[in-house]
Symmetry: C2
Subunit: 325 residues, 2 copies
Amino acid sequence: MPTATSGAALRVRLLSNHVMAAATPEAKLLPRAVIITGGSKGYGCALAEELCAEAVRDGRGLHLALVARDEKGLIETEAAVLKAAGTSSTSGVTCRGFKVDLGKYEALAAKMEGVMTFLEETLTSWIGSGGSDSQPKAELILIHNAGSLGRLAYAGALTAEESAASIDLNVTSMLLLTQLVLRRFSQKAQLPGNTLRIRVVNISSLLAVQAMASWSLYSTGKAARDMFMRSVAADVLALQQDVRTLSYAPGPMHTAMVQEVLDSCPDKQVKQGFEDMQAEDKFVDVRVSAAKLVCLLGNDLSYESGAHVDFYDALKNIKKMQKSY
Amino acid sequence: MPTATSGAALRVRLLSNHVMAAATPEAKLLPRAVIITGGSKGYGCALAEELCAEAVRDGRGLHLALVARDEKGLIETEAAVLKAAGTSSTSGVTCRGFKVDLGKYEALAAKMEGVMTFLEETLTSWIGSGGSDSQPKAELILIHNAGSLGRLAYAGALTAEESAASIDLNVTSMLLLTQLVLRRFSQKAQLPGNTLRIRVVNISSLLAVQAMASWSLYSTGKAARDMFMRSVAADVLALQQDVRTLSYAPGPMHTAMVQEVLDSCPDKQVKQGFEDMQAEDKFVDVRVSAAKLVCLLGNDLSYESGAHVDFYDALKNIKKMQKSY
């Protein structure tokens, strides 16, 4: 469900302004074409709204492609984003939902063709014919936000079907979608003289680096995605392309997934931890976490390509950057 | 191809004797039922021979189930193991090959049924009827050695088919096989009063923790496996079962995979690194690496359950243990 901008999210944005101004006074605000998987609800929706708010504030062009299974959710998120952008046609924000089931990876390339064409047309109009002044004229951001918790169960109690489905959705599809985007667009990011910047973001988790009882499917998937991001970072460094990857652990947010944990976690100790967090109101606001990711995306210097950056560490890094100016 | 025992492997074994004698003077040498996937050649074959050599030396019962696609290789390894065990029927070593394609995970449970029955019969005869003196009477070891390099290519050049096949074989099958074994046998490892110990070993790699250009499929799979081992370690700790997991990076060995790297790696810098290792004869002997893993398996105290232990670090740990006595 679309969420209202919180005061904390606004503070993160003001911080972002400050850092950007200090870090890259010459930086051009390139228009952005963004794919968000799982863009119909929860964190995906918050990211869409936050990117939109930033685009409107800074007068940056933004073309959003939301990818999800849930058609109704896509329509709602689309409406929320366009509302946030205002009715003026000069806002430069477009947003379109694409119904794709990422769990069925065999048909992924065909299903994503519409998204790719939407992005390609937009990017072509921004980049133009290129020419001798070749330099970045647009940014393409792929945000892998879709994912499933998988059933919470001790490994011996997991079935083959649910395990395979979890790996297909959370790992295989994510690899394939990244490969598709790089195949289609990375030539434009070739240094020197690239006309496009590409950023790939994996929505990761603390569970990518820390195991918890009964969470093996989730952890295994997140660790695989993190390493894939590091591998792609190594690839593009060798290829000398203006591509950066990031695994961002968004912090513990009170999304539908938390209710799933409270309802289904068989491990008493882990479940108790979540109940305590709820009782103590320790969850992170989705919009605050989304604002921080948008801030990171605007500040390449604040993260190493391929790195796993946690919500809490991201704040520290940005504060450190402020101190150094 | 079966390999001869090297002098270095013998030295590792002598070290193992010393550590075991010092660390656990009361330790009983439990008979072992062992599954080795990818047991028809290379490192799987070396592990089979090393486990056999240890069993013969210490008079420990050993029932080996070798799992692989290659029937000819299975027969050769079986012969080599039985030859190493000697012709005497009192050696207590049996070895049987099972033709299973781990890449086809949909049929895995059915295909593994023969292996499970073979192990179950053996374990039942060792454990007996149990009774009031319930204590470990046997050890079950599952060694996930099977795996593919995947095509070495920059991410944008990988096809959907080869990516999915790599994840199916290296991740999904490995999860499913672990789950099968735990489902079938972990009740016997329930504390207190367990009659069985279970050890699960993932043959990992430096690439599980370090990315290299053009190795994304391999790295992603190994990182996923490592995290699954850590997750299972968390599970069995919560369940209080005598199950331990280990991700062992066997060091750079001159197996068929190295030739595959030299033939196919598109990244000049990475390829040069392998060529230099070959020129400088820096590869680790497969039997030395296998002997070290067998040594680790005999010394639970030398590794934390779920840990990633590298061939080089394993040596250090054991040396540290020696110093402390």
